[in-house]
């Protein structure tokens, strides 16, 4: 597997592999500014510089952010903008988010870092009961819309249970917040700036697997990418694949392999999971008649279930044998047998990050007869 080799080499040595994992059809930036090849953490860093530069009421804070953060995303910010605006906080996630809510409630842009998404749970109450309901419960007298919570998520390969989780589904059940996950450096910069400037609290999960691994041309200027708009990053006609974040690189690899077998894949990056763009997914599924959803998080109660439920609701008659055609190939980092084999989780990524996990069900699904009926079905079901 080519991809696995790239991952192994790239991460094991901590080296930046110059590769362009995504063929983005649309231009993300305005295309006018200078663009440089940078990795994902540098793109985040650029976005934070711009956010602080363009709004003197913006603050960046969290555990160890002052010296640059454990992933270097906040490098240079404290020197540039001062320790009053970029600062360390005590090691207390509920405090970080609660403090951020208060700061945001005073009209500031509070950009809070949770060091790992695995440690966001102490802040769950502040996010779910406070940030998400702040505007609603006050009848729009108060809001904490300036709050953005950044957290690195997902498996890298050696993180074990507590540096590998993908907790996005917990937050997708909460009206009042937005959940955004970028797939690449250019996306990360544009989406993060949109999140910071969005008038609603946002949880922004950063794929830490790609912090150094993913490199692409990123415009140096200030640009924003729309929230709640999915993007078709690969056009195809036989099957729709839906994913987000780091998992898209695995899915793209599977698409390439399928292409060699003559299967034409359409790949959609959801980007914003809450509120998510049902229309783009629906349009694609109506076209291809087959769908495959993949995420790193556990399958039960995962966000893939939400997507599949919506597809059942909206495109039931567009698929030939609905429940066999819906092939939810959901990959989990928490299968217990992996841990029995590798108690330290050292080689976890090499198990979950293979495109064969996706390719095999993809193949079996597309072996079914074409689900598109020769005559269009009635629109009202």
């Amino acid at each position: 597997m080519g991809l696995r080799n790239i991952i192994g080499k790239g991460l094991g040595l901590g080296l930046v592999r110059r590769r362009k994992p995504f063929s983005t059809a649309t231009c993300d930036g305005d295309g006018n500014g200078n663009a440089k090849s940078i990795n994902l953490y540098s793109a985040i860093n650029q976005a934070l510089h711009i956010a602080l530069e363009t709004d003197n009421r913006a603050f960046v804070f969290g555990e160890d952010v002052s010296f640059g953060g454990v992933f270097r995303c906040t490098s240079g910010l404290a020197d540039r903008f001062g320790k009053a605006r970029v600062f360390n906080t005590p090691l207390c996630e509920q405090g970080i988010v609660g403090f951020g809510i208060g700061l945001a409630a005073m009209g500031n842009r509070a950009i809070a870092e949770i060091q790992f998404a695995d440690y966001i749970y102490p802040a769950f109450d502040q996010i779910v009961n406070e940030a998400a309901k702040f505007r609603y419960r006050s009848g729009n007298q108060f809001n904490c819309g300036g709050l953005t919570i950044r957290a690195p998520y997902g498996a890298v390969g050696h993180g074990g249970h507590y540096h590998s989780q993908s907790p996005e589904a917990f937050f997708c059940h909460v009206p009042g917040i937005k959940v955004v996950i970028p797939r690449s450096p250019r996306q990360a910069k544009g989406l993060l700036l949109s999140c910071i400037r969005d008038p609603n609290p946002v949880v922004f999960f950063e794929p830490k697997w790609l912090y150094r691994l993913a490199v692409e041309e990123v415009p140096e200027d200030d640009y924003m990418l729309p929230l709640s708009e999915a993007e078709v990053i690969r056009q195809g006609s036989d099957i729709t694949l839906v994913g987000w974040g780091a998992q898209l690189s695995v899915m793209e690899q599977a698409c390439n392999e399928a292409e060699n077998d003559g299967i034409s894949c359409e790949l959609i990056d959801l980007k914003t999971l809450l509120p998510w763009d049902k229309e783009t997914v629906e349009a694609s599924v109506r076209k291809t008649g087959r769908v495959l959803i993949s995420h790193e998080a556990p399958v039960t109660g995962g966000f893939g279930a939400e997507i599949s439920a919506s597809i059942v609701e909206r495109c039931f008659l567009r698929v030939l044998i609905p429940f066999s055609v819906f092939c939810l190939c959901i990959i989990t980092v928490k299968l217990s047998n992996y841990y029995l084999l590798f108690p330290l989780g050292q080689n976890l990524r090499s198990f979950i990050g293979t495109s064969n996990h996706i390719f095999t069900p993809l193949k079996s699904q597309t072996c079914l007869p074409s689900p598109i009926p020769s005559t269009p079905p009635p629109q009202n079901h």
């Binding site: 991460l11 094991g12 901590g14 160890d64 002052s66 010296f67 454990v70 992933f71 270097r72 009053a84 360390n88 906080t89 005590p90 207390c92 509920q94 405090g95 988010v97 609660g98 403090f99 951020g100 809510i101 208060g102 700061l103 945001a104 409630a105 005073m106 009209g107 500031n108 509070a110 790992f116 440690y119 102490p122 109450d125 502040q126 009961n129 406070e130 702040f134 505007r135 609603y136 419960r137 006050s138 009848g139 729009n140 007298q141 108060f142 819309g145 890298v156 050696h158 993180g159 540096h163 009206p175 937005k178 008038p199 609603n200 830490k208 150094r212 709640s228 509120p275 049902k278 229309e279």
Partner: protein, 487 residues
Amino acid sequence: MANWLRISSRTVANHIKKRMNKGFMGDAVHVNHSSGLWWGLNRGGPVSDRNRRHMDPLAWNRATLLCVQRFKSTLAEKQHDSFLSSDSDDDNQSVDFPGGKVSYTSEMSFISESSQTRVPCYRVLDDDGDLISDCDFQQVSKEVAVKIYSNMVTLQIMDNIFYEAQRQGRISFYLTSAGEEAISIASAAALTEQDIILPQYREPGVLLWRGFTLQEFADQCFGNKADYGKGRQMPIHYGSKKHNFFTISSPIATQLPQAAGIAYSLKMDNKKACVVSYIGDGGTSEGDFHAGLNFAAVMEAPVVFFCRNNGWAISTNVSEQFRSDGIVVKGRAYGIRSIRVDGNDAVAVYSAVSAAREMAINEQRPILIEALTYRVGHHSTSDDSTKYRQLDEIVYWKKARNPVNRFRNWVQNIGWWSEQEETQLRNSVRKQLLEAIQVAEKTEKPPLSELFTDVYDHPPSNLEEQEKHLRETVTRHPKDYPSDISV
């Protein structure tokens, strides 16, 4: 939390790893001179200066007086203080640890878990409402005193009438301030309108003081169209932007870390204002209590944390809540100056909050106030407190230690209040309230569309879809839905 794992992460830059390991491997004695990491934790300036400030005689003389009284009480406290006062130790006898010098001792001495006597409670008026001689307090003008008293009476009447309205089934829920009237009203009196309030839920007196009208209270409790919260929350969850009173949320203590963030914003804007955040005794057991106090201390944020220790968290007595001498002693562990005050003495509350506010703003630091009081009423209309506490106890606090009666004695003895004014006030407030309730009851409920607004700044397509679906269902089955809500 899993520091070793964070360090071992291969994605963490190598030089950071080295620094962290150095710090964690007992090499810390020299670290604060060599490593930027430790300095990052002390943003307020050099470590030693910060610590010395805590040991300096306090700038505010009244607070000094109280602290001195407290320190001389026990042997344990002396030991504690000698442990802290290591300024005179020569360098060979101390370790230059991150956070400041620590002296060595050959004596194996544990700090006592508590002092032998409890921290005394500051008061100004005795049980009969007479001024205690040689008392240190903030002068209260006639105008302020009369307003405090009038507000306390208004709150009592409001509680009685809303409580009855709930019993008659006209509102769904209510929660009285009985026994704690002095706390919310006298503390509000000591603040300016620019000071920002983060309430728990038993502080409607603050709103009353700031001019929230009886009609506004009634509209919230009835959840009608005029309620600022658009009828979304249970009764008593007030909020008013124009009164700098953040909307109450039911979860306990969540407002405390938020208070630190709001106060940090005031600090950044150089505002001459502070945040006052209220909490009950039960709330101090929450993790957010720790987060709020610690953040405010570290960020040097002007917050006055006001704890109403009324002895009971629903049915849980303070003896089942914590093993410390109440809440006042917890301040020191966070590096926060603290005072215990008689919450049923309006003048003491007023004086302590005035002083706390002044210190919080002038010195840019949090202050902790513990007010001893008693919840004379049930926790709420959903509670019957006679099931878990003695009637004698309730009656004692209601009669002998009543904060409203005590304050009335004081204003009446000075000659600022009369029997005639009392009767007039009570009649007038009762009349206004009954009118307010009638109006609130007749005012229509918020329309169905308000169920979906304000979740986000604009309703996204998924909520529009859900709203459309709900409207269709209501139209199809109108009998299943309330008739007084416009679709």
